[in-house]
């Protein structure tokens, strides 16, 4: 199971722009590197991150082999209502990870 770190404010004012920082442990093996015997190591990357705010998709990113290990993505959204920010990463070899944080909007 991959480990993910989410940094989002637990509380925000209505209409405020909030920064969300996400990081997940993943090797992001490019598929272009050879192993010690010279054979290429198969590609193994995260291909997508989706963030939903109370079920509604607010951010989506496609990831590619040039992205470093342990992808760190940050983005902004507007705090509209209290609820849950859920994150879903999917990738090669059936990789899937989810994480969620709660936010209170005043």
């Amino acid at each position: 199971m991959a480990r993910a770190l989410i940094n989002a404010p637990a509380k925000a004012k209505h209409g405020e722009a909030i920064e969300i920082k996400t990081m997940i442990s993943h090797t992001m093996e490019t598929g272009f590197r050879p192993d010690s015997t010279g054979r290429p190591i198969p590609r193994d990357i995260i291909t997508e991150l989706v963030c939903r705010y109370n079920g509604e998709e607010i951010f989506r990113a496609e990831l590619f082999p040039a992205i470093a290990a342990n992808p760190f993505l940050t983005f902004f959204t507007v705090a509209t209502e209290s609820g849950t920010l859920s994150f879903e990463w999917t990738g090669d070899n059936g990789f899937s990870a989810t994480e969620s944080v709660n936010i209170t909007v005043e």
Partner: protein, 258 residues
């Protein structure tokens, strides 16, 4: 005339020796201070520091029962946040049974073998690095405090000798870069003073966490010198000397380096 020439020669030799002197304590700088703004920001923010993912893994491993004794680290040591506070700042430390210093990774494996009756973790394995990072994290901000007693002195001296010994096809010593030419550039990158304040650390070049021994192997490779197998006493002595050289500097574990 001859006497004057001899004096001049002695003065020259003296000057040569002075340039190879140790860095005065007050002028020491962590590798952090040689980094760019973005890399510093990564280290400063625990939710942007990729090494924290390993620290979290280490926290899980700390609680996991392992080996035929079915004991976890926590069963003996309790809460690492209190029991491991300041421990990493004292390593490498003298091991009375082995009559030599051992580093933190080796200490973890000694505990595994003797107390948990589990197989030792491989050097540079994810698990060993995660445990070392988790233990090291508990000493963050604390000053490095290496025991400098009669038992340690021969090993400290061996480490110092290794640091100042020219080796490899480039015929370089560690001291030539890290004592004499720190702050200058090597292939565009700043040469740091070589203080191991943040190990195990996340190196962007590695894209993973790595130990001080891995870093030392990197340097030896760059000098085109023979590197030693992981766990070799040569590394532990050098680690010991480097930690003593960085005495009283704060621990940054888990640090980020370019």
């Amino acid at each position: 005339m001859i006497a004057a020439a001899a004096l001049f020669l002695i003065a020259l030799l003296g000057a040569g020796a002075a340039s190879a002197a140790e860095i005065p304590l007050a002028e020491r700088k962590s590798g952090y201070e040689f980094m760019g703004r973005e890399t510093r920001a990564m280290q400063d923010d625990d939710t942007a520091n990729p090494a924290m993912l390993s620290v979290l893994d280490g926290e899980t491993l700390w609680q996991r029962k392992d080996g035929s004794a079915a004991k976890s680290c926590a069963d003996c040591h309790g809460d690492a946040r209190t029991s491991m506070k300041g421990v990493a700042a004292r390593y490498p430390a003298f091991d009375a049974a082995r009559r030599r210093p051992v580093d933190l990774e080796e200490r973890v494996n000694i505990c595994r073998a003797e107390k948990q009756q589990a197989t030792p973790l491989a050097f540079e394995s994810k698990e060993l690095l995660a445990l070392a990072a988790y233990v090291g994290r508990q000493s963050r901000g604390m000053p490095i405090d290496i025991a400098d007693d009669a038992r340690m002195r021969p090993f400290l001296q061996a480490g110092r000798d290794m640091f100042t010994k020219r080796q490899g096809q480039l015929n370089l010593s560690c001291a030539q870069c890290h004592d004499d030419n720190w702050g200058q550039k090597l292939a565009g990158a700043p040469i740091p003073q070589g203080h191991p304040t943040g190990y195990p650390l996340y190196r962007l070049e590695w894209q993973t966490l790595g130990s001080l021994q891995r870093r030392l192997r990197n340097c030896l490779f760059g000098m085109r010198a023979v590197s030693y197998p992981y766990g070799a006493p040569e590394y532990v002595n050098l680690e010991l000397y480097l930690m003593w050289r960085a005495r009283r500097m704060p621990i940054e574990t888990p640090a980020v380096r370019p």
